[in-house]
Amino acid sequence: MKRREAVSRLVLGSVAGAAAALPFGIARVLAPPLEAAPHTRIPLPGALPDPDQFARACIGCGLCGEVCPPRCVLFYQREGGSLANTPYINPEQKGCILCGLCMEVCPTDALTLMPIEDVDMGIAQIDRVACYPWVDRGVCGACVVVCPLGERAIGFDFANIYRPVVFEGCVGCGQCVEVCPEPSLPIAIVRRTEGTVAGHGV
């Protein structure tokens, strides 16, 4: 009977399809999607601006991590969900030195080679109620000294030469976050589109 045959084929096909999807399902269960704190998960230099776009382009080969001289490139594990095995930088551990090796080595278009002035990993944001000089608790300037881009990215406030101020030229490499001595880390890298944290401005 033709109809019975067609039905049994359909059933067999769907069973095979379900069995074939099983490994992917197991991999998904092993890495369920969870939200990560955005300030400790910033994109790599040259990364495609939209995170979804980046996830589509990244094949998870890990080459960016293997060439990184300061070993600042980390990889999403369980907490990444569909971003599992794609790279990020946690500036609180280690900031990017903007050497550009990861952009050069990336085999896909996930990281695009560009001059470091055009990199957009975010922008540094200083919390002026915690930063030592801003609350008159001492003299610091570590972030200004360490910045690889110099005065186009960060400088001192005109009125008080120890109070750091971030300018639009900042690319968000996160070296200032790594070096900041204040335990609560009043400096953080935020997405440009996010605007300002707690209304303190940049």
Partner: protein
């Protein structure tokens, strides 16, 4: 030359050892590269005096290894980077065709530099078939050791699974994976493809401070091989194996049986980890040219040939008892007819 005198080229029977050498070398390289990367980061940081004793040991060992070849390790050691999923080899970018397929499916676009990096593997697969699975894949190295372990367990009397599933299942896995890549918007093959997992997890374990989720999945595949089907993941589930099988369907180099020499001893069928049927000329697109059957053949009845198709079934081997009995019967009936 008489066809009955045909002997295989004498080196073919040693190819299996060469294959183990390449498998071991690839695996050793995947272990060495993360250590070299650690060494590079220590050099770049000019931090020898601040290293912990363990790190200092890595530094000294890698300096001893690479010292004769490079004076600028921070830059020169970038020559070999990556895993079999995607890597750089002395300026040549090489990528797994499955990575390319997943990237195309997920992004629905072509990135030409990436397509070019997969070109050499694709062409090599069209010529040599599924050779990556047998000769390079770092997961094969572990799976074959796992298979040896399973043989010990069987000898000790532990019951292990040896189910036969449909070989076509892995093509469905490939198709389902491509669809899931497009739907989920990420290259989901990277999470289940064993060679990618192995290379990455070794890197994570050595340079990133611990195994990731992929290690758990890989352990599950090892258990699957032990408890459900012999070499089951490669044979029935691996999407990369499916892609290579399709690309290598009309491969030029394939194994052929010399029917005059064959004595039907079935050693080739037993040793074939992919469950193929060399004794009855059943190779097909699944064969990964691993040459284990050639190495095990006691009468030199298997050899390589150049051609896009397998030989059609040649019947029982001419040294085998079935063939000789049949010949004898035919002779007797001939002489009977003559009398």
């Amino acid at each position: 030359m008489n066809a009955a005198d045909e002997q295989p080229f004498f080196l073919w029977r040693h190819l299996n050892r060469l294959r183990w050498l390449t498998l071991s070398l690839v695996f050793a390289l995947l272990v060495l590269l993360p250590f070299l990367h650690l060494y590079q980061t220590y050099v770049a940081a000019h931090a020898y005096d601040f290293l912990a004793p363990g790190e200092r040991l890595i530094y000294d060992a890698m300096e001893w290894l690479t010292g004769p070849f490079t004076s600028d390790p921070a830059r020169d050691l970038d020559a070999i980077k990556g895993t079999t999923w995607s890597g750089n080899f002395f300026g040549l970018a090489l990528s797994d065709p499955l990575a390319l397929a997943g990237h195309i499916a997920a992004s629905l676009s072509l990135h030409w530099a990436f397509v070019l990096s997969a070109l050499i593997p694709v062409v090599a697969t069209i010529i040599f078939g599924r050779f990556f699975c047998g000769w390079i894949c770092p997961a094969t190295f572990i799976y074959e050791l796992n298979e040896t372990f399973a043989a010990w367990l069987r000898r000790a009397g532990v019951p292990l699974g040896d189910r036969r599933l449909s070989k076509r299942l892995k093509y469905v896995v490939l198709g389902a994976g491509l669809v899931l890549c497009a739907v989920s918007g990420s290259v989901i093959f990277a999470a289940i493809y064993p060679p990618a997992l192995v290379g990455r997890e070794i890197y994570y374990a050595i340079a990133q401070g611990g195994f990731g989720v992929g290690a758990v999945f890989f352990l599950l595949t090892l258990l699957f091989d032990l408890l459900v089907a012999r070499r089951g993941f490669c044979r029935y589930l691996c999407p990369g194996g499916a892609l290579y099988s399709l690309l290598g369907r009309y491969r030029l180099f394939r194994i052929r049986r010399i029917v005059h020499n064959c004595n039907d001893c079935v050693k080739c069928n037993v040793v074939c980890e992919f469950g193929l049927d060399p004794m009855r000329d059943g190779f097909g697109q699944e064969c990964n040219n691993c040459s284990a059957c050639i190495a095990v053949c006691p009468v030199d009845a298997l050899t390589f040939k150049v051609g896009v198709r397998d030989d059609p079934a040649q019947g029982p081997g001419h040294q085998g008892s079935a063939y000789r009995r049949r010949r004898q019967r035919e002779d007797e009936s001939d002489t009977g007819a003559a009398a």
